[in-house]
C-alpha cells in the first residue's frame, strides 16, 4: 500500500514538473519526458508489474494533456515499464554508463512503439518540434540515470546513518 501511495505522490510531482517545464518553454517537454523517468525508476526499483501499472497511469495522464486519441502514450509507457523491469533484473545496470545506455535503448523502444501506434491510429504527420523529439530518448535517459544514482546514494547514506 505504501508503495502505491508513494508512486501516486511521485506521479503527481511529475505532473507538476511537466506543467512547470511547459511554462518555461514550449519545447521543453519534447526534449525531456518526466513521465518516462518515473516509469523507468519504478520499473527498475519495483519490477516489471509495478512498472507496467505506473506506465499505464503515466501514459494515460500524458494522453489527457493532448487532443485526440486517449491511450496511445498509455500503451507505449506500459510496455516501457514492463520490459524495463524485466530486462533490468537479468543484466547488470548498476554502473552509470551501462545504466545510461540501457535507458537510451528502452526509451528508443518506447518512442518507436509510440510512433507506430500514432501513425497506425491517428494517421497524421508526426510533429517532431524541429527534431527535438528525436533527442528525447537521450536527454531523458541521462536524467533518469542521474535520478536513479542520486536516489541510491541518498538511500545508502540514510542506511549508514541508521546503523
Amino acid at each position: 500500500m505504501r508503495d502505491y501511495l508513494f508512486s501516486g505522490l511521485v506521479i503527481f510531482i511529475a505532473v507538476v514538473l511537466y506543467l512547470f517545464f511547459q511554462n518555461v518553454s514550449f519545447w521543453f517537454p519534447f526534449l525531456l519526458n518526466v513521465f518516462s523517468i518515473v516509469v523507468i525508476y519504478f520499473a527498475v526499483e519495483k519490477g516489471e508489474v509495478f512498472g507496467a501499472f505506473t506506465g499505464m497511469a503515466c501514459g494515460l495522464i500524458q494522453d489527457s494533456f493532448c487532443l485526440g486519441v486517449f491511450g496511445v502514450a498509455g500503451i507505449a509507457k506500459t510496455l516501457l515499464g514492463y520490459f524495463t523491469g524485466l530486462i533490468s533484473k537479468k543484466i547488470n545496470i548498476i554502473p552509470f554508463s551501462r545504466n545510461v545506455l540501457f535507458n537510451i535503448i528502452m526509451l528508443i523502444f518506447e518512442l518507436l512503439v509510440w510512433v507506430f501506434i500514432y501513425t497506425l491510429i491517428i494517421g497524421e504527420k508526426l510533429y517532431t518540434a524541429n527534431g527535438l523529439l528525436f533527442l528525447q530518448p537521450f536527454c531523458t535517459a541521462l536524467v533518469a540515470s542521474f535520478t536513479i544514482v542520486l536516489v541510491r546514494k541518498v538511500r545508502e547514506r540514510k542506511s549508514k546513518y541508521i546503523r
Binding site: 512547470f20 499505464m56 494533456f65 485526440g68 486517449f70 506500459t78 491510429i121 510533429y127
Partner: protein, 277 residues
C-alpha cells in the same frame, strides 16, 4: 485460473493492461471529436493543477518584472497610454455614430451586452503531442463557457473554438489543427473555401478551383459564417502561397494571424453558434 496463466502471471497482467487500453482506444472511435468520459475526468482533475502551476509561474515572473527588472517599462507605459487614448476616442466616435440610428438607452444596452458576452481567459497549458493542435484555458462551464464557443486573441483574430469543457477549464481546438475546419473567403473577393490546419503552424484553404483567378498572395482571409460555428467577418490570416495542382483545386497556404507567444490572454465569445444565428 488456468495453469498456463499462473505460470505466466506477469505476462498476463501486461496483456490485460494493453487490452484495457486498446478497448479505451476503440471506445473513442464512434465518439469522433467528442472526448471520452475517462479522459474528461482526468482533464477535470488536472486542469486546476495546470491552472495553479501557470498562476505560480506567471505570478513569480510578474513579480520579478514589476519589482526588479523594470527595463523598458516607461516605453511600454507610454505606448499603452497612447493606445488607450486612441481607443477611447474611437469608442466615443462609434457611440456617436450609433446614436444617429438608435436611442441613447438602446446604445448603452448594446455596449453592456457586448461587454457581458466576452469571457476573458488565460492559457494554462499546451498540447503535449503537438503545440499547434490544442490549448487549455482557465475558464470552464462555471464561468459560462460552452462547447463550440469561438475564441479570439487580443487583436480579435480567430484562434479556434471550444471543444471540451470542464467545470474550471476548457480545451480549445486551434485553427492549425489538422482536424479543424472553417468556412472562409478572401476579404477582397468572395471565393469561398474550407480552411484547415496543417499541424505545423500554417493552414490551407481547400476546395478553391484552379480556374479561380481572384486570389492573390497577401489577400486577407476572413470567416464567412457558413459553417454555423464561426460568426462571419473574423480575421483569420493572410495567403502566403498559391499553387495550381494537377487536380481540380488550388493549394493555398495561409499564415494565421494569431500568435500565442505574444500574449497568454484570450477572449471567448460567450455566444454559441445556435444563439448567434
Amino acid at each position: 485460473m488456468p495453469s498456463f496463466l499462473k505460470k505466466k502471471k506477469n505476462l498476463t497482467i501486461l496483456l490485460s493492461l494493453v487490452l484495457i487500453q486498446m478497448i479505451l482506444i476503440s471506445i473513442q472511435a464512434p465518439l469522433g471529436e467528442e472526448e471520452s468520459f475517462f479522459k474528461k475526468m482526468l482533464l477535470s482533475v488536472f486542469i486546476p493543477v495546470q491552472d495553479g502551476v501557470a498562476y505560480f509561474f506567471h505570478g513569480s515572473n510578474k513579480f520579478w518584472r514589476n519589482y526588479f527588472f523594470l527595463h523598458g517599462i516607461q516605453v511600454k507605459n507610454n505606448l499603452l497610454q497612447e493606445k488607450y487614448f486612441l481607443l477611447k476616442h474611437e469608442n466615443e466616435l462609434l457611440r456617436k455614430a450609433l446614436k444617429k440610428y438608435q436611442a441613447e438607452k438602446e446604445v448603452e444596452d448594446i455596449f453592456k451586452q457586448a461587454h457581458k458576452k466576452i469571457i476573458a481567459a488565460r492559457i494554462i497549458g499546451l498540447d503535449a503531442r503537438n503545440i499547434f493542435k490544442s490549448i487549455n484555458i482557465n475558464k470552464g462551464s462555471a464561468d459560462g463557457v460552452k462547447k463550440d464557443m469561438v475564441v479570439l486573441d487580443l487583436n480579435s483574430n480567430l484562434v479556434g473554438r471550444i471543444i471540451t469543457v470542464t467545470l474550471r477549464g476548457a480545451r480549445i481546438q486551434l485553427l492549425t489543427d489538422n482536424d479543424a475546419g472553417v468556412s472562409v473567403s478572401s476579404e477582397e473577393n468572395k471565393s469561398i473555401g474550407v480552411l484547415s490546419g496543417s499541424g505545423s503552424g500554417l493552414c490551407q484553404v481547400n476546395y478553391i478551383l484552379n480556374t479561380d483567378k481572384n486570389l492573390d498572395i497577401g489577400n486577407i482571409i476572413i470567416t464567412t459564417g457558413y459553417d454555423e460555428i464561426y460568426p462571419p467577418g473574423i480575421r483569420v490570416g493572410e495567403i502566403i502561397s498559391i499553387e495550381n495542382l494537377p487536380s481540380l483545386f488550388k493549394m493555398i497556404i495561409v499564415k494565421p494571424y494569431f500568435n500565442l507567444s505574444h500574449s497568454k490572454r484570450l477572449a471567448v465569445i460567450g455566444v454559441t453558434a445556435a444563439e448567434f444565428y
